[in-house]
Amino acid sequence: MVPMSWYLALGAVLFTIGAVSVIVKRDILSMLLAIELMLNSVNLTLVTFSSYFRELSGQILVFFVMVVAAAEAGVGLAIVVLLFRNRQTVDVDQASMLKL
């Protein structure tokens, strides 16, 4: 059997990849994908702990996270469509009307 620490390490690595990609990537669709990766790494961690403790609430939490991720994707893609319709690009650097 694969030890628990491997799953946890995989979760941590996926989370880091997701977080770094959000910061580094410059187009919205890739950023959305990276955020999905972060949420899925959380799911992996939760399921690992849940099966280790033989306790269900972690797995139920995963279902809720998945539902929320789906809702977020819906809203996020709607915003991307709006943005694309108004300016024909999905590059975040082009979205600079509001300057720092």
Partner: protein
Amino acid sequence: MNIMLLIQAKPDWQVLAQDAARLLMPEMLVILFACFVLVLEFMLTPEQRRWAAYLSLAGLGAAGLSLALMFVKFTTAEVGFYEMVVVDGFALVFKVIFLLAAIFTIALSIKFLDVENEQRGEYYSLILFATAGMMFMASGADLLSIFISFELMALTTYILVAYLKRDRRSNEAAMKYFLLGIFSSGIFLYGMSLIYGLTAETNLTKIADTLARLARQQAPQATGFVAMAGMIFIAAAMFFKIAAVPFHMWCPDAYEGAPTSVTAFMSVGPKAAAFAIFARIFIDGLPGLRGDLTGESFGWVGLLAIVSALTMTWGNIAALTQNSAKRLMAYSSISHAGYLLLGLIAGNETGYIGLVIYLFVYVFMNLGAWGVIVAQRRASILGERVDDFNGLIHRSPGMAVMMTIFLLSLTGIPPTAGFVGKYFLFAGLIETGNAWLIALCVLAVINTAISLYYYARFIKAMFMSDVKEEEPLALSTSLRATLVTATVMVLLVGVYPRPFIAFTENATRHLLGL
């Protein structure tokens, strides 16, 4: 554990229905009206569209009445829905704050949406859904219920920011707010999964018990490390939500690009809700990780102190050079998040009273100030620059005076409500007697002085600059009523704070574990 019960036992719908009627009446009313407003939208002709707003106000009023009944009925905390939801003084006081914020926002929005030519029922429906989410947040006793209700609030707010579909600034603000918002949700979830991995619990009080037990058992050092990492992840996500430095980047952009009425809502409602779960998670769930400032143990109080100092200072310094009124108020709201953190850092009764009463009066003073900015929006004028306030005293003297009162209150000058809030926040720090915290208090006072400078820019523009146009502003009745109520409340809390302090003590009793 609780969820196991839920699955194994026969679902007792009667118990759940009773719980719902007993604990969640205000939330259910808000959600019911939100759905109804959404459907009603399709039955109205364009001239009747305002009825959606009046109906939402009626719904919020009904929720307010049922909340008043709960104030009478509940003397102790009650838990329901398999320990997912708790109704105590803390939750009730915050629900009052959210309802007030929603009512004021809707009153501000009616004419604004007419000017923008976007008068639609879904706007009001979304505000009601966000309010329901915030009310559930204040009642959340479990990381799961807190997360779900938080997402209900956040998702509706993203849509509200993007509400002006044809306005590119609104799209852009929504994109930035959305991306950073779900990014921080991901961070929150990871912190949550670490805490769950340590304790096998998602209920806040049980987490606190388990962590305390682990600490007593001299658990291996890795345990402490994981708990600390989980705490830092959750704290980082919370800093995002309240727009604390260094996680504040989204705030000025989102506030500037969003429709002004939505900005007014965001700066009060979701911010207060984020502070509610911040206090709930850290004081109920992670009290063992509090640490102290003597240097012996690092914990969240040290982290919060550093972030608070940075937030106040950076928010105020960045506000100095802004020309856009909306951006200026955004940085001002960042610095206010810094002041509010002081209440959690002090961790005594005075500090907690300061936190809650400041959030309470912030509804009036901040929504009042935003209401004046909303009123500047006319057919062809955006009215978002500080210059647009030039000579307001000649055009609308009443509004100029009210804006001055709001700004003085935001600075914290007596006899306004802001002074009462700041007094308790600062006094809480001094009561602790810790040299570092007293230094932090001095920094906060210096920051208050800095903030007077940029608030005074509005006052100078309104009273001393030349008039650009003579025409007085045409105010809707609801906007005028909102501004007058806010002014009266700001002065009333400032002059006679005692009943309001007694009101907030309902909430602080819980935080102190009494």
